[in-house]
Amino acid sequence: MRRIFRHLARALADIRENLLLHALAASTIGIIFLLSGTFSLAIVNLSALMDRWHGNARIMVYLDDSGPGRLLEGNLVSLPGVKSVTFISKAEALKALSGNLGPQAGLLANLDENPLPAAFELSVDLADQGPEAVARAAEAAGALAGVSDVEYGRQWLSRFTMFIRLARVAALALSVLFLVAAVFITASTIRLVLYNRAEEISIMRLVGATEGFIRAPFYLQGMIQGLAGGLFALAVLFSFFALARSGISGGLTLGGFTPLFLPVWAWASGLAAAGGVGLGGCFLTFIRFGGR
């Protein structure tokens, strides 16, 4: 335990001595993690938004005038995922339309026949099923005899889903790339420090210091540098987030949607990754340049 403190003191002294170098490396790592964090935050919120819309997914099922009409209710209710079914008769549809038209509703008065079909409005429970459930339910409804047309935000929904999926993959790939870049950045700073310390290290070896004893402060430096970068990224990300959230609650509205910050496990593992980057960079340096 005392040893760790001693190594820590050594590491901090080293950092103080090369403050600019470490600060530069830490902020580069910070920016890298900030980018990854921003992506993740965007994805978390888009997914949450999509889940809300999914939760309200609606399907309109239009009926043939000559079909069984209202009798289809039983078939529709039993479709998988369907939560509730509301019948809208031709007359109700016309009334709703004229209500929507307002002053122009007079146009409809000239019609001798009601052109609007009767319809069912299905609300689909998507809490634990994807947007595919909407498509499946809509398809099944469309296959029923007496149904003329089915309408739902099919394309929009599936495009959005695709987009989020793609964004997730892209963010993951980018994060891995960024992580590798951060490891190399750490490696090059540690290499510089190591280079400055070459004589000191050779003296330590000559007086019998073990490699562990010699390297421990460097590993700590790498870890501190990475953690500093990670904390910096987290602080900036959270400030931006808090700013954006107060902007939203202060005027902008997203249909009552409250933006979410990254879950604890996500930012905690981000921090751990930042520390790990420091250790990894150090390890890489010693593998490549650490020989005697």
């Binding site: 001693r6 000191e200 003296i203 330590m204 007086v207 019998g208 073990t210 490699e211």
Partner: protein
């Protein structure tokens, strides 16, 4: 730290040891044994191979040929993991001091004990004791660049003795010192020797050699004499 001294028997054995730097043979065909508890002088003109001889012993470099056994261990067959431990059983005074410029006097000496995993309280006490012995206790906070050659040399001696080694290898440990300071350092090494330690001391200084029981003379990398110094003492100061 635990005492790693042996009471008797050879602590160092060399068989046909040579060292080449490119085409230049710095040391050739050296064979000898040094018993635990001996005080051995190593002398010869500049460039004779004295420092090279010591470098091979403190494992700074491997020999080009021959075998070296340290405390019965063959250095050629030793794994890298055993190296630090073996080095810690040696106290070395380097000809060029090899003090760490960015650490102060106290830290330079404490390094040996820290590296050996000594208790911090013990380290604190021990470092003060050895620095006091070499007369540097009031310079503990100074950094090596601010010290004179003689002061650096005294810190180097303190560091070599701090870890209670079994063997001290000293390369011109009095080379930069006035006669009084040199006498103090020699007395320290003699104390160490009297307490059972083995000393190998490289020097050009004939004063130090007077009356020595064993002197190794190197010339052009060869061991040309190994025996007592029979010449009469030029002055009184000697072991």
């Amino acid at each position: 730290m635990e005492n790693q001294r042996q009471d008797s028997g050879p602590v160092i054995r060399m068989f046909g040891v040579g060292k080449r730097y490119g085409a230049k043979a710095a040391l050739s065909e050296v064979s000898l044994e040094i018993d635990a508890g001996e005080f051995v002088f190593l002398t010869g003109p500049s460039g004779a191979g004295k420092s090279t001889f010591l470098k091979l012993l403190y494992l700074a470099e491997p020999p080009s040929e021959g075998q070296i056994l340290l405390a019965g261990m063959n250095l050629a067959r030793m794994g890298r993991r055993q190296l630090p431990r073996l080095r810690r059983s040696l106290g070395v005074v380097f000809q060029d001091y090899k003090l760490i410029a960015t650490r102060n006097v106290y830290e330079n000496v404490a390094l040996v004990l820290d590296a050996a995993g000594a208790d911090p309280g013990y380290t604190k006490k021990k470092v003060r004791v050895v620095l006091k012995k070499v007369g540097m206790e009031d310079r503990m906070a100074s950094h090596p660049p601010a010290l004179s050659g003689g002061e650096k040399q005294r810190v180097a001696v303190a560091r070599a003795l701090a870890g209670d080694p079994a063997v001290v290898l000293a390369d011109e440990p009095t080379g930069s010192l006035d006669p009084v300071s040199a006498g103090i350092i020699m007395d320290l090494l003699l104390d160490f020797h009297r307490a059972g330690g083995t000393v190998i001391l490289a020097t050009h200084d004939d004063h130090l050699l007077a009356g020595a029981r064993r002197v190794l003379v190197l010339d052009g990398g060869r061991l040309v004499y190994d025996g007592p110094n029979d010449l009469p003492a030029p002055k009184a100061r000697r072991p």
